[in-house]
Symmetry: C2
Subunit: 293 residues, 2 copies
């Protein structure tokens, strides 16, 4: 494959996820921190108006606005639909500054630690993930079961892209420890790309531990759609821990435990993410896989 | 003093603090849970529109709308100003169902555990707090240095009132363990009032450990008001821990530590509360006192 010409570090795809926003603002003040000799580094505050309002989004979730048909749909007029088109016209494949690699920085109220989400299993992505896990061993790597060729996510407009989800952090809160770890991750990515471009790739293991999402699970709801139970205390903050048949997953408001009835052991992630209540997602279930690169 | 005739359990003064909201909804479905023989128990979802929007407030913080001059000001037309007047007309001293005791249920992104905030040091409040701490020993009791006779808080419209602040919980998230603890606290209050009314008060210790707020501390900001530092990792989630001269309190985005320069040992609370960034409050400093009842 050819060299990486442009990397874009994105914060504020969701306006109330402050760590990524303040890290991008830092890079805007001090661009030398992300400058490397073999490629251009750009920054993007993706949804400044949502950040100004300290909300996830103004009209709709920006990180679901990047499907090709939506980018081409001139009738979509929400703030986020327009913003997605602007971002695509700049950093998309036919844009004024096409991005080869987008690093999109998110936080989550789930206890996801340092999670790297890979949109595809392209060899470059897998090698980068393997390198990152070798120098930041606490990283967990999450990927979809099947690759979505027309994904709605911001990072999907570049050939290579990844999302960092760090947590647990409340919306509207800066977490200094995770800020510093996020910064170290970004620099590791830039260093990896620099070495890759220079033909002397940094070493990585030829195996990678992956968590593959297999399904989402909603909260128990009544006919009106209202939640009937909470994440069980024994599951709260236990992202990536094994969940076996019969383990508690929900607790009703009357104190009744609801257990996991699936037959296979799974590894829940995004447990009790605030922004997913409205999406009908209490958690995602994943399976572990060892991937040979 | 005379008997307590009416207790009001309030949730959703802030629309994205879900624990109190779902506890009040539970009581609305099952009013017998809060019914006692010697007084009337009511519930209130204080800001339903803010909850519908999953926001703290629609126009302005409802829990700052209850000053007498604002309640009497006919020109105030925000959703919350109007809602405050409705609540006051119902539960205020001259209202249709005047409340003697309001229990206002909040959550916080700070690690406040189970915090009981007393608006005044009226003997009844102190005795109730002492009883609650005897059966829920993890409760911390917080009170202002001086009593505000015209406070802007919802609970201030009743003679006796208290606020529970439980955390750390992210905005927009239900925490089942804290939900159950919050429920136990409410029932303890109702049991205490019932016994008080029946002339056989439940026993309490004659000393009470109090944290008195002495001042708020803002984030370091530049001239434009933008934050220049984060809560230091060593202080994050350390609410109620002793802070000594020279201890780290902030960390700049460049990694510089800013220390506490006060001369006396203090006990910070509401550290890194999401809703207080816009209020210019990074934390409150408190002093410990032993109070004899």
């Amino acid at each position: 494959m050819s060299k990486i010409s442009r990397v874009v570090v994105v914060g504020g795809t969701h306006g109330n996820e402050l760590n990524g926003i303040y890290l991008v603002k830092k890079y805007e003040r001090s661009p030398h921190l992300i400058a490397r000799s073999s490629f251009e580094s750009c920054t993007l505050l993706a949804s400044p108006r949502a950040h100004q309002l300290m909300k996830r989004y103004v009209d709709t979730d920006l990180n679901r606005c990047f499907r090709q048909q939506d980018l081409e749909n001139t009738s979509l007029s929400t703030y986020e639909a327009q913003r997605a088109k602007e971002i695509y016209r700049r950093f998309g494949s036919g844009g004024s500054q096409p991005a080869d690699l987008i690093v999109d920085l998110h936080t989550t109220t789930s206890n996801m630690g340092l999670t790297l989400i890979l949109p595809s299993k392209h060899l470059f992505n897998l090698q980068l993930a393997s390198y990152l896990t070798s120098i930041h061993p606490s990283i967990k790597v999450l990927c979809p079961l099947t690759q979505n060729l027309d994904a709605p996510y911001l990072n999907s407009i570049s050939q290579f892209g990844c999302v960092f989800e760090v947590g647990a952090v409340a919306q509207g809160v800066l977490d200094a420890a995770l800020f510093q770890q996020m910064e170290a991750l970004v620099h590791s990515i830039l260093d990896y790309v620099e070495a890759f471009n220079q033909g002397s790739p940094l070493s990585f293991k030829n195996t990678l531990h992956l968590y593959q999402t297999i399904q989402s699970v909603d909260y128990p709801r009544n006919e009106a759609g209202e939640i009937q139970a909470m994440i069980h205390p024994q599951l709260q903050f236990k992202d990536y821990n094994a969940l076996h048949t019969g383990d508690p997953i929900f607790l009703t408001f009357d104190g009744q435990t609801i257990v996991y009835e699936g037959e296979s052991t799974v590894f829940p992630v995004f447990i009790n993410e605030a922004a997913y209540y409205e999406k009908g997602i209490a958690m995602y279930l994943t399976e572990q896989h060892q991937c040979t690169i």
